[in-house]
Symmetry: C2
Subunit: 308 residues, 2 copies
């Protein structure tokens, strides 16, 4: 799957992943009005609203980008109805030819991580039958529990030809509280980064491993160091746009071959129509605003890579 991701990045010339993190305040009024008329102001109604909102964006950007990253929390907050919308979103994106990175940040002790890996990337047995419950292509994984918590994901990835991105240095302001603690003079995220490189060695695609890392765009200096420490790991880079990461910050996350990173933008793309810059599209044409935001982001990254 990492090879497919790379092929699509090269085909689209866009190392971009669109974060499908819908909230009700991003959903245009005309969608809310229609679904509430049908389902009422219910969890089902909210779930339908975010699913329809997603579909609009996916239709508008699917030829421009290789991948999407639904953040499952945004669906989980609407309970099981929300998770049905999540599942439908994953299926719709795959049908549109997009690679789906499930931003689930799961991680637990061995037997439990195995259940999560099965849920999001694998297949579960029921009697003599098997089912692929959520069936994403990649998942994000929290490493706090160590190898035990990560290895069940690797096993499923090997079987299913899928991949993971392990949290190494996250994009949020307080990520340093534990991740930057110095261990023998170097920050914990480097220790985790080395483990990612090590786990990834047995999980190679053609040029890159299918064990990747999450490193926030908001920490470009750390990105530069981690890029060298994990040369074969693809880096999923959140924090561009709304969280403050800029195009120029991104160059450190890429290798000399122009590959090795894929940059996420969520709000900056899916709620573009709410920004002054894209207000001209209007709420009805929210998806066109998203398309323009992707084009602008592609240009921003290309320019930054050209300038380096």
């Amino acid at each position: 799957m990492i090879d497919q991701l790379i092929a699509r990045i090269q085909k689209t010339n866009a190392p971009i992943v669109v974060g499908l993190d819908p909230t009700m305040k991003f959903v245009p009024e005309h969608i809310k009005k229609a679904v509430f008329a049908e389902y009422g102001q219910t969890l089902r109604g909210a779930a339908e609203a975010i699913y329809l909102f997603n579909r609009g964006i996916v239709d508008a950007v699917c030829d421009l980008v290789p991948a999407v990253k639904p953040q499952i929390a945004m669906y989980e907050q609407f309970g099981t109805e929300g998770l049905i919308a999540y599942q439908k979103t994953v299926a719709y994106c795959k049908q549109k030819g997009l690679i789906v990175i499930a931003d689930v940040k799961r991680g637990d002790i061995g037997s439990t991580s195995e259940a999560y890996a099965v849920a999001h990337l694998g297949r579960v047995a029921v009697g003599e039958k098997t089912y692929a419950p959520f069936d994403a292509d990649f998942a994000t994984v929290n490493p706090y529990l160590g190898s035990d918590g990560v290895k069940p994901f690797l096993k499923v990835c090997q079987e299913e030809k899928k991949g993971i991105f392990v949290l190494v240095k996250t994009s949020n302001p307080s990520s340093g509280e534990f991740q930057d603690q110095l261990v023998d003079g170097r920050p914990l995220y480097e220790v985790v980064g080395e483990k990612v490189a090590q786990w990834g060695e047995a999980c190679m695609g053609e040029r890159y491993s299918y064990v990747g890392a999450v490193v926030g765009a908001t920490y470009p200096e750390q990105g530069r160091i981690l890029r060298r420490l994990m040369p074969k790991a693809f880096i999923l880079v959140p924090g561009y746009g709304a969280q403050g990461g800029k195009g120029a910050d991104l160059v450190h996350f890429f290798n000399e071959d122009g590959l090795g990173a894929i940059v996420n933008s969520s709000r900056g793309i899916i709620a573009a129509y709410q920004q002054e810059k894209y207000a001209r599209f209007g709420e009805m044409n929210y998806a066109d605003a998203s398309r323009q935001a992707v084009l602008d982001m592609r240009e921003d990254i290309a320019q930054a890579l050209d300038r380096r």
Copy 2:
């Protein structure tokens, strides 16, 4: 809610939480046969099977223990049908007077953690209405992202009078890989433990904080240190029984007042009938075996606390 948890521990004289982590191989044949006859070998069938299995155990132990801890991964592996079974399990346990600790190990950047907190402990707005999607009493939280990722849970806990248990030192063999890394001469789990104590100061019940910690029974020495470091934090102790933790190991997790810890057992209780020790109950009476396993665990802990 922490005060209610303490009151129920005192009433039952059992600092025990039953881990509702069902897998298909724990579910007795007669339950599987009945649900597969009705729903086929489908995800719905699996979900109904684990829900019925849980009900049997809950009915058998609800007068003996204060709380249950469903591990959501075991439900998530059956997709949205499994999560409906999870939701029904939470509701059924609460109806039976049990406190529900959602073992979800969620944690993300601020806005995303907020969505998780809302999903599992709080209420979400849809138009002018609000809903409590999963509505547990406590949730487990992964601290790797730092305060940003934890504080949204604290906010919801304050509003809803609920609580969290933050992963500090987990029970699995490789938990030391990152958690034991030395930071200025002391392990990272102590740094996290201090943070738990600090977050908990503003979140006090009568005697204990509703910001608790997860510390594995498999690491009693570390439990002793953490007990002192977080005197007001209730410790949720997994790893007893099947994972190797023994009664004698547990004494360090309790304060002098006999409180401060609640010990989880999952397989050791819910799959007791599959152990030689409880085989006499037979598969049909699996719930009676679970009841006996709870009685034995209560005795084991009481003896260990008496001996100290």
